[in-house]
């Protein structure tokens, strides 16, 4: 097991290490539930210790019209937490901390044929974020005046896997509530888990709104990836090793990089490095070409010189 996978495993176990439900039943209600966990980890899971920031974000939107003052207080705390995690870790959360990311990576190890998907499909997560996380919880309110947590309710596979299924096993009285919505969520969960065997990090790439939020910090956060042209031999190993299928260095600090550091570790000449900085250096943090493009350009140039010489 790689060091990164081991850390993912340890964090996933720690974040889900409440066994009090075996004695007392229900879910954990201790002090740690005041804090947001950085990754996607359902707080209704009987084992979970902390709150899921994506669930809380939807609750803020759903409460804004009924109890604006309460919601704004919650929003201050949540946004402060998200900004802090984003600036400190960015998508390191996805690559090293998120239990659902870890689960997908393990599933991909199952030796079945692998597939590719068009890059455009990754735009779906924008729709889920803007629609199910922000807009619908705010727009539609029920009789009580509160909105619904639409992403959790209709989509989140972590909720179905970590909360829905185990709670139905532990609390038989909940089974009378099973309806079409639950069947839909189970079907979706099965599709996403199966899809993750065939396509690496299917949920992260296509659907995860939390990854999208953290992605914005890849260019603004404390740690950024830098590429040094003077060392690069344009072997293209970095792009081959990238689980997110990114063009390097063009996309080293793009929304999509999960900071797995595969590229950095694979590079034979150490041309990619992780730098800490409190300043945005556009020239270094955003390069407009990929290693492959640069390699082709260099080859074209030398061919042109040879033929004219």
């Amino acid at each position: 097991m790689k060091k990164r996978n081991f850390i993912q495993f340890l964090v996933a176990v720690w974040a889900n290490s409440y066994f009090g439900f075996l004695i007392r039943g229900g879910i954990y209600t201790g002090k740690l539930k005041n804090l947001c966990f950085p990754g996607l980890n359902c707080y209704s899971c009987p084992l979970a210790l902390m709150a899921c920031p994506l669930g809380i974000l939807q609750h803020v939107m759903a409460t804004l019209r009924a109890l604006p003052v309460v919601a704004v207080k919650g929003a201050l705390y949540l946004l402060g937490s998200l900004l802090f995690y984003g600036l400190l870790l960015g998508r390191f959360v996805c690559g090293w901390i998120c239990p659902f990311g870890f689960l997908q990576e393990m599933l991909y190890r199952i030796p079945l044929p692998k597939i590719g998907l068009p890059r455009r499909a990754r735009l779906l997560k924008w729709g889920l974020f803007l629609g199910l996380v922000l807009a619908l919880p705010f727009i539609f309110k029920g009789e009580t005046g509160y909105g619904e947590v639409w992403f959790c309710r209709t989509f989140c596979p972590a909720g179905t896997l970590e909360a829905g299924l185990p709670n139905l096993v532990l609390e038989p009285q909940l089974r009378s509530l099973i309806g079409l919505l639950f069947y839909w969520k189970v079907l979706l969960l099965a599709g996403i888990l199966l899809g993750s065997i065939l396509y690496l990090r299917l949920f992260c790439k296509l659907f995860c709104p939390l990854g999208l939020i953290y992605g914005f910090f890849n260019r603004l956060g404390l740690f950024r990836l830098r590429w040094q042209e003077k060392n690069c031999i344009f072997c293209g190993l970095c792009e081959k090793m990238c689980p997110m299928e990114l063009e390097i260095p063009k996309e080293l600090n793009s929304l999509e990089c999960i900071r797995c550091l595969n590229c950095l570790n694979a590079c034979p000449t150490k041309s990619i490095e992780l730098k800490g900085s409190f300043r945005l250096e556009t020239r270094l943090d955003r390069l407009p070409f990929s290693v492959a493009e640069r390699r082709h350009a260099t080859r074209r140039e030398s061919l042109r010189r040879n033929s004219s010489g």
Binding site: G26, I27, Y28, T29, K33, N34, L35, C36, C42, Y43, S44, M50, A51, G55, I56, H59, V60, T63, V70, A71, K73, G74, A75, L76, Y77, L78, L79, G80, S81, L83, F84, L87, E148, V149, C152, R153, T154, C156, G159, T160, A163, G164, N167, L168, L174, L177, I178, G179, L181, F182, W184, K185, L220, G221, L222, F278, R279, L280, E281, T282
Partner: protein, 43 residues
């Protein structure tokens, strides 16, 4: 633009402080410490 990350660090600190002092963590607790039927797809 260069100073944007620094501004965001300050903003994170201010928001967190304001969230803690105003009791925003209670909002998080009130939602996270209750079984959420919606998360489970049961409501």
């Amino acid at each position: 633009m260069k100073i944007l990350p620094k501004v965001l660090w300050w903003l994170a600190g201010i928001l967190l402080l304001a969230g803690v002092l105003s009791g925003g963590f209670r909002f998080v607790f009130s939602r996270a410490a209750n079984l959420c039927l919606s998360c489970m797809g049961l409501q």
